[in-house]
């Protein structure tokens, strides 16, 4: 039985604006699920609905098989870590940790033992008599986690808990949270807009946009097989390159070369208003400098700018391919002019600046998208995409709903 199940969960304000729309997903016992998306995509609202801090407009929500959509937050057996930690400033760390146990009627001796145990787990046992105001950001974060963990809840919710930490501490806490979660095998729903957190911590990622689920899957799966233009553009840093392609006679062609069967593309794109027949995407690390082989697409261009990052270099290469503008997963503008491709190459290649360059990219690593619906038609490795991958059967309904 899944630990947490959401069925068509919807939140609308004034009956018109849907902040969360028909979200269907399940979280297995002990699973680490990450809700990922840009600001305003509805991920925090969804988390707050699970917590009971936002009412559910429609749909079903159950924890351990018990319907909780209309149950008071304190009776849902959940704990939550807030973005700003939400510690009680007037209580010591010990009292902060003990507070939920005290309210739960746990006897004092057991309460003390559990507080000591949790503090030791999070290495804050020497800070128990201090108040939150005198703690560092990292220590506060641990106290917030401790207060949630000490209750031993059925579901653990985290709302961007690392966003107030500096980059170094964030990296450290990322790894610690993952380790603790795995050690305690506690079902966790974690909200973030940071794809690095999602990719490194999650068992599965739920990518959201405009209140709708765009894709559910394991991190590598979402990265390699994005379900649509939004996911393809949102996951990956630097982001995927997009350019226009021709679609005729049942095949998609780029620079005169056939790269994939068009599948349903021709029928779908008939209504396209941008004039783009197909959108092709390729990740910056899939493009290489050099002469193309037999299964590779050749492109010629000029390196317009170089960004040296130490271990790797990002090159902006002007190529003669039709450009397209993709915003929030939608093709907003077709452009027949020149296009700039971002190429990620290892080492320091500052010597390439201003040079003419030959580029090659394996045809099998190209993704093809339908410009009118944004859906993926062909994903990398040439896999035809008739169905969204990597999600439960019930989620397919959510995806279909989200794309209508």
């Amino acid at each position: 039985m899944p630990s947490l199940a959401l069925e068509g969960l919807t939140k609308s304000y004034d009956g018109a604006t849907e902040a969360v729309s028909k979200v269907t997903l399940t979280v297995a016992d002990g699973e680490f699920l990450v809700l990922l998306g840009p600001s305003g995509c509805g991920k925090s609202t969804l988390l707050r609905m699970i917590a009971g801090l936002e009412t559910v407009t429609s749909g079903e929500l159950s924890i351990d098989g018990r319907s909780v959509a209309n149950v008071h937050p304190r009776d849902r057996d959940i704990a939550m870590v807030f973005q700003n930690y939400a510690l009680y400033p007037h209580m010591t760390v010990r009292k902060n940790l003990a507070y939920p146990l005290k309210l739960g009627g746990v006897p004092k001796s057991e309460r003390n033992a559990r507080v000591e145990q949790t503090a030791a787990l999070l290495e804050i046992d020497s800070e128990l008599e201090r108040r939150p105001g005198s703690l560092s950001g990292g220590q506060r974060q641990r106290v917030a986690m401790g207060r949630a963990l000490v209750r031993e809840p059925s579901v653990f919710l985290m709302d961007e808990p690392l966003s107030n930490l500096d980059a170094r501490l964030r990296m450290q806490m990322r790894s610690e949270i993952s380790q603790i979660q795995r050690r305690l095998a506690i079902t966790t729903v974690y909200v973030t807009h940071d794809q690095v957190e999602a990719m490194t911590m999650a068992d599965r990622v739920v990518v959201m946009n405009k209140g709708r689920v765009q894709q559910i899957g394991e991190p590598t799966e979402v990265y390699e097989h994005p379900a649509n233009l939004f996911v393809a553009g949102f996951i990956g840093s630097p982001p995927m390159n997009f350019f226009g392609a021709r679609c005729a006679g049942g095949v998609v062609t780029v620079a005169g070369r056939e790269i994939a069967p068009a599948g349903t593309l021709e029928a779908d794109s008939a209504g396209s208003v941008t004039g783009v027949e197909a959108v092709v995407g390729v990740r910056p690390e899939q493009i290489q400098f050099g002469a193309a082989g037999p299964d590779e697409l050749a492109m010629a261009g000029k390196v317009a700018a170089v960004e040296t990052l130490g271990a790797e270099t990002l090159c902006h290469v002007q190529v003669d391919l039709p450009g397209v503008t993709v915003e929030a997963g939608e093709v907003t503008q077709g452009d027949a002019g020149a296009n700039s491709l971002l190429v990620r190459t290892p080492g320091n290649r500052s010597d390439l600046s201003g040079q003419d360059a030959e580029l090659r990219v394996a045809v099998g690593s190209l993704h093809v998208f339908d410009p009118s619906t944004g859906k993926t038609v062909v994903s990398r490795h040439g896999t035809p995409r008739d169905e969204p991958r990597g999600s439960e059967a019930e989620n397919r309904r959510g995806l279909e709903d989200s794309q209508t």
Binding site: L53, P73, R74, M80, Q83, A86, R147
Partner: protein
């Protein structure tokens, strides 16, 4: 490349950090200093000087009497009663502000229906002249024809129709009620603090299992510590300046039962013959209010340091 002073290097910094000239100082602070010199330093200085004199309202033929006025004042049980009344009324007002005022503020903040109307009901008295409110209370509480007693008699509750401003204990209670009635300012302080409060701690407490009562008493009330501080200090200081509440309702009576320091000082300084004595009382009241405020600040500071 070193920037030359002409190009706006170190010289610019020096110019920006240079102290303003005496001219600028005079333009900005001159009017303020003149205002304070006339209305504050001069009047306080004058008050302190006359407090050591035996002098009438004509301020002629003043005789220096040293600390005699202060000695007489400390020996006067009416003055001690007035100071005690001040502190009692301040205490009642503080307790009311931190309980009723706090509760009303939370109710207003939590989106209760008719919020705008309730704001008007509680805040309006604060915006009106206290003298007017006191006069209205006095008229309403008049024992024979006052609207309160008329109403009580009208609904058959004759036994409850009291001599509100004539019975010393009832008059004392009436003054307390009036201090509580002026709860608007604390409500304003609390609601403004609530509007900027981070609600995550409250949400967290809800998830931890806190019921509304615990939420208010164990989380929200302690979180608003700084506002309590402002409310307490402002209420104490208001009580020492609340001359008009008492003067325009009971006039300090009956038999000095509701006398506060303000009415005490007023009675002596306007009677015309004991101005020096009245001045000494005013200076002592000033000292008492300063000491009370200083003690409060010290308590808050030490409590803050423990956090």
């Amino acid at each position: 490349m070193r920037s030359s002073p002409a190009a706006g290097g170190p010289d610019v910094g020096r110019r920006l950090t240079r102290r303003p000239g005496i001219g600028a100082f005079a333009i900005f602070f001159g009017p303020l200093i003149a205002f304070y010199a006339v209305f504050y330093f001069f009047s306080v200085g004058f008050l302190i000087r006359t407090s050591f004199q035996k002098v009438s309202l004509s301020f002629r033929d003043a005789t220096n009497v040293g600390l005699e006025n202060y000695r007489l004042l400390i020996d006067d049980p009416r003055f001690i009663d007035a100071v005690r009344n001040n502190l009692v009324f301040a205490g009642v007002a503080i307790v009311a502000a931190m309980t009723i005022g706090f509760f009303i503020s939370v109710a207003l903040w939590s989106g209760v229906r008719g919020r705008a109307l309730l704001y008007a009901v509680f805040l309006l008295p604060t915006l009106m002249p206290i003298a007017l409110i006191a006069a209205v209370f006095r008229t309403m509480l008049e024992s024979r024809f006052g609207s309160i007693n008329e109403f009580l008699r009208g609904v058959g509750l004759d036994a409850l129709a009291q001599r509100w401003l004539i019975d010393p204990d009832l008059a004392y209670g009436v003054i307390m009620v009036m201090f509580v009635y002026l709860i608007g300012l604390p409500i304003l302080y609390y609601t403004s603090n609530l509007s900027i409060i981070n609600t995550s701690a409250l949400e967290s407490a809800v998830l931890d299992g806190a019921n509304p009562l615990r939420l208010m008493s164990q989380i929200l009330f302690p979180i608003m510590r700084n506002t309590h501080k402002t409310v307490t200090l402002s209420t104490v200081l208001m009580s020492f300046r609340a001359f008009d509440i008492v003067f325009f309702s009971t006039g300090g009576g009956p038999a000095g039962r509701t006398e506060i320091t303000g009415t005490y000082v007023y009675n002596y300084t306007t009677s015309g013959i004991k101005v020096g004595f009245g001045s000494a009382a005013a200076v002592l009241v000033l000292l008492v209010s300063l000491i009370v405020s200083a003690v409060q600040l010290r308590i808050y500071r030490s409590a803050g340091a423990q956090r």
